[in-house]
């Protein structure tokens, strides 16, 4: 009952004219960001974090969540019409969405995508409201040992599930943790890796690093690719048919569950949620041959999954202080900038804050429904602007965004350096998401490891014998061992011997 009361308070606070204007404006901006290939939800949330620093905390988080939701949804437009995913999360929508568009059903495809997105997001909002308090209550039992393994598991899981090679993902995660150690150590204030430079004593700023990794690196990547001409085909009615929704309720439910679960996994993100939902829908379908050729089931599954992952990613961010995706990591940083402290104590010290986030996510979902139905054709005009004009404007925003948090040119140089490094590493197949997780979780991992060892007087036993620690340690060790060739060969032999 208390939860419902908090939710009511949250929704009432979001009905003001300024709040509605912020929600609609930010969602529209997010849709445009998601629409443009090369721009990501993470970049959108990072840039808007810098713009909203001086806003009231609730209004700022409202803007950021709406940008996040809008960006993930917006990428489906270009995925359907041009076979170009606006964001990585919309790549799965290309397969069947574009096929439907080529069959002259572009409007129907966009209506289906809107329906799936709204349904997935609403499902995720319900899970966010139900599971965040439960997870936070469980996390109150966590100590330094558990938080160390939770942080390490988050980074390792992100590395395992994103990118083409788990080892490459883990190396990026370690790079992120290393980057987080630059500056004054959080326990004894001893300088680490500062090379006697005053500017480095404050460490590497999270927002400039993220803007570099997801903004500047993306500008460099896009400018190195062949130019794709955007030919926008005609679009019919985008109103979703009720029959489409009712016939695919099982797919919506299944994809919502998968999306939320994948969203909860640290650092994995919306793109894996979309693909996992798509694969599950294909396996469960009686018309598997239609997948990839215009399957409504496939399109709904992809869009429901990726949008359900957004509230899913916020569950561990709010309850544990461990983000479920890269945009959620930036959102967490924004919450900290605005005075909140995500983690188990959040439900104890300010439970209303959690329900404010639930209410904000619900409002953002309504906003994408509005824009999905009324603003299809006008918004596509953005695609006609050449990338040679858009990319330098994006870069100017990246520069100002990096500068505006602490008003230091040093942060702009951080953005440049991290951007070039991530660009070069991405070309070698090293994914960026684990780097972000490492950067965000490095502080928790550092403090927890050292505190745990002080508490145990140097003994490693509690790290492996306390129940929750042992389970998380086992997860990390299994992930590591699973990459060793002898283990992989043993598993392959075992699978062959048990298969009839």
């Amino acid at each position: 009952m208390e939860g419902l009361s908090h939710l009511g308070t949250a929704l009432a606070g979001l009905l003001g004219p300024w709040q509605i204007a912020y929600a609609l404006g930010a969602t529209l901006a997010g849709i445009v960001i998601g629409l443009l290939p090369g721009l990501s939800a993470t970049l959108g949330v990072a840039l808007f974090t810098t713009l909203t620093v001086k806003m009231a905390p609730t209004d700022a988080i409202l803007v950021l969540v709406c940008v996040y939701v809008g960006a993930i949804y917006g990428g489906s437009r270009t995925a359907i019409l041009l076979n170009i995913p606006g964001t990585a999360a919309n790549a799965a929508a290309c397969l069947d969405g574009n096929a439907l568009a080529r069959q002259g059903q572009a409007g129907r495809a966009m209506g289906i995508a809107t329906t799936g997105s709204v349904a997935g997001s609403l499902f995720g909002v319900v899970c966010l409201a139900m599971f965040t308090p439960l997870l936070a209550e469980t996390a109150l039992k966590f100590g330094a040992f558990e938080f160390f393994w939770l942080g390490m598991a988050g980074v390792m899981l992100s590395g395992t599930l994103t990118g083409s090679s788990p080892v490459k993902g883990w190396l990026m995660g370690l790079l992120g943790i290393l980057t987080a150690t630059v500056g004054l150590d959080p326990i004894h204030a001893h300088p680490r890796f500062t090379f006697d430079q005053n500017a480095l004593t404050g460490g590497i700023g999270l927002i400039p690093a993220l803007v570099g990794a997801f903004g500047f690196a993306e500008v460099l990547t896009v400018m190195g690719q062949p130019r794709m001409k955007a030919v926008v085909s005609t679009v019919g009615s985008v109103l979703p048919k009720i029959a489409d929704v009712l016939r695919h309720w099982r797919t919506i439910l299944r994809s919502g569950l998968i999306g939320v679960f994948i969203g909860v996994l640290p650092g994995v993100g919306e793109d894996m949620a979309a693909w996992s939902s798509y694969a599950a829908a294909k396996r469960a379908s009686r018309e598997k041959e239609k997948f990839g050729k215009g399957s409504v089931d496939g399109l709904i599954a992809a869009e429901t999954g990726d949008n359900a992952a957004i509230p899913g990613a916020l569950i561990p961010a709010l309850a544990l202080g461990i983000p479920g995706s890269a945009p959620a990591a930036v959102l967490m940083a924004a919450m900290i900038i605005h005075g909140a402290q995500p983690g188990p104590m959040l439900m104890v010290s300010s439970p209303q804050y959690v329900y404010d986030i639930v209410g904000i996510t619900f409002v953002a979902t309504l906003a994408i429904l509005v824009f999905g139905l009324v603003l299809v054709r006008p918004i596509l005009w953005v695609l006609r602007v050449p990338r040679e004009v858009i990319m330098p404007i994006v870069f100017v925003l990246c520069v100002l965004g990096s500068y505006s948090i602490t008003q230091r040119l040093f942060d702009v140089w951080v953005m440049l350096g991290v951007g070039v490094l991530c660009f070069l590493l991405r070309r070698q197949g090293f994914p960026v998401a684990p780097f972000v997780l490492g950067l965000v979780l490095g502080d928790i991992i550092d403090k927890s490891l050292r505190r745990g060892l002080v508490l145990s007087d140097g003994s490693l036993a509690p790290f492996f014998t306390r129940p929750i620690s042992a389970a998380l340690a086992a997860l990390v060790i299994v992930m590591l061992l699973a990459q060793l060739p002898p283990v992989q060969r043993w598993w392959a032999r075992r699978t062959r011997s048990t298969t009839p």
């Binding site: 790549a91 290393l178 500008v219 460099l220 400018m223 190195g224 694969a279 330098p392 440049l416 140097g458």
Partner: protein, 184 residues
């Protein structure tokens, strides 16, 4: 080419890991302050460095074994399965560069961006002027051949100059007047 860059990656990570481990090991343990040795500042860096070297060795082993392996995803495609990690990786841009990718565009963009943000910024010029010149210069450099081929060099430059001025002034005003940020 791919093998050479893969081995260069291995060398990078091994060198970085070694340097970080050594730096962490040699970091002041603050024993003169009477702190517990387990809370020494260099502990995590040393652990991270050691793990980096270990993973670099695993990567070296994988690179050596994959030397003649078929391209990733081909087996999955033949089986009709969806190579989820591969598709997500490709979509997220974590795959190797596609044939036809141009380093030239990326290098040019890097030089222009670094000249603007790393060199010219903060030296007294109004930000709006620097930003407008950057947007104009960036666009002109990349679209010059196309404009020349179409015989609309002057028109292209004029249109881009107008867009650059409007964008620079709008962005600067937004940050300065609405979000109260002092411009560099």
């Amino acid at each position: 080419m791919h093998d050479r860059s893969a081995w260069a990656s291995v060398a990078f990570w091994a060198a970085l890991g070694t340097a970080v481990f050594v730096a962490g090991w040699r970091m002041d343990r603050l024993s003169h302050q009477g702190i517990a040795p387990w809370s020494a500042p260099g502990l995590l860096p040393a652990v991270v460095g050691a793990l980096m070297v270990a993973f670099a060795l695993v990567l070296a082993l994988q690179t050596w074994r994959e030397g003649a392996a078929p391209p990733r995803g081909s087996a999955a495609d033949e089986a009709g399965e969806i190579d989820m990690a591969g598709k997500a990786a490709d979509a997220a841009g974590a795959g190797a560069a596609e044939p036809g990718d141009s380093w030239r565009g990326s290098i040019l963009a890097t030089v222009l961006c670094v000249l603007f943000a790393g060199v010219s910024l903060g030296h007294g010029w109004p930000f709006q002027v620097e930003a407008a010149l950057f947007i104009l210069g960036f666009t002109a450099v990349f679209r010059w051949p196309e404009w020349r081929a179409e015989g609309r060099l002057a028109r292209g430059l004029a249109q881009t100059a107008a867009v650059a001025v409007v964008a620079a002034v709008a962005i600067a005003s937004l940050f300065e007047s609405v979000f109260l940020v002092r411009l560099p």
